[in-house]
């Protein structure tokens, strides 16, 4: 065999070896990819299985919440009237009236009245006393009526002055007993034999 033929043969063998090495390596990598994709498919299958009922459940929850919102909005509007209800909501949550009531689209166009103009001072006070009401924390007219962190006696100031008045010094409680400075029922017959026995 001529030398050129030997070189050709060796080159072909070299090419075949390279093909074998790279193709086997590629096959192994593709097998790893297949195994990984099996894990992915299993995980995605679990996700699909677990998320399948979510849509129906969330829709049901939303429907219930919508019904609750409609109920409360309807009750508030029925009892306070649309105009005053907006003022009440805006007084408790400033700016909330801009969005209006969901069930009453026309409410978005109404300018909410100030809560002080709608309700009596007592109602406004009650609203300010609300622990969660923003107006209790930031009252534009002055200091808050209630210290939401620790105040408890401030509510006394809400009542007319006459109901708060108390005597500066209440009479002390009487001291009783044998050693009391003032003996009550100072009768000489106390402790003596009975003059007349009961039942006779």
């Amino acid at each position: 065999m001529p030398a050129a033929g030997v070189v050709l043969l060796a080159t072909v063998v070299l090419i075949v070896l390279a093909l074998v090495y790279y193709l086997v390596s590629t096959i192994l990598a593709l097998r790893e990819i297949t195994n990984g994709l099996d894990d992915v498919i299993a995980g995605v299958g679990e996700i699909l299985e677990k998320s399948a009922p979510v849509n129906a459940v969330v829709n049901d929850i939303n429907a219930n919440l919508d019904a609750g919102v409609d109920l409360l909005e309807g009750l508030l509007v029925k009892k306070a009237g649309l105009h005053d209800a907006l003022g009440l909501v805006d007084g408790l949550y400033p700016g909330a009236a801009a969005a209006g009531f969901r069930r009453f689209p026309e409410s978005a166009t109404i300018t909410p009245p100030r809560i002080g103009e709608v309700y009596t001072k007592g109602t406004l006070t009650l609203a300010r006393l609300g622990r969660e009401a923003p107006i209790a924390l930031a009252n534009p007219a002055g200091p808050v009526l209630r210290n939401v962190e620790g105040g408890s006696l401030a509510a006394r100031l809400l009542y007319p002055e006459g109901r708060q008045e108390r005597p500066e010094n209440l009479p002390r409680s009487p001291v009783i007993g044998a050693d009391a400075p003032t003996q009550y029922e100072q009768r000489e017959d106390v402790g003596q034999p009975r003059k007349r026995l009961p039942g006779r």
Partner: protein, 88 residues
Amino acid sequence: MTLWWIGDVMLLVVVVPVVVYLLNGVLTTARSIVPSVRRIATVAQAGSKDLDATALLLTTQDQVAQTVAGVANYGGSLDVILDDAEEA
């Protein structure tokens, strides 16, 4: 004979490098996919674990229904107790 040698040289200098280059590219690409697939599998399993709490949605559903029913009862009572707004 000269053509044989020319063919050998072409095979060694051109064909072998091209074959090796192409196969190496395929192998490198295939190997680069493996870590990505592993990360995707990890994320899919983590996502599946995150959805374990979806079963609690059924409890939430019941709670919301009961709460709204309670609100409806209170609302009905308030409707009876409080006067309606005066017609403007």
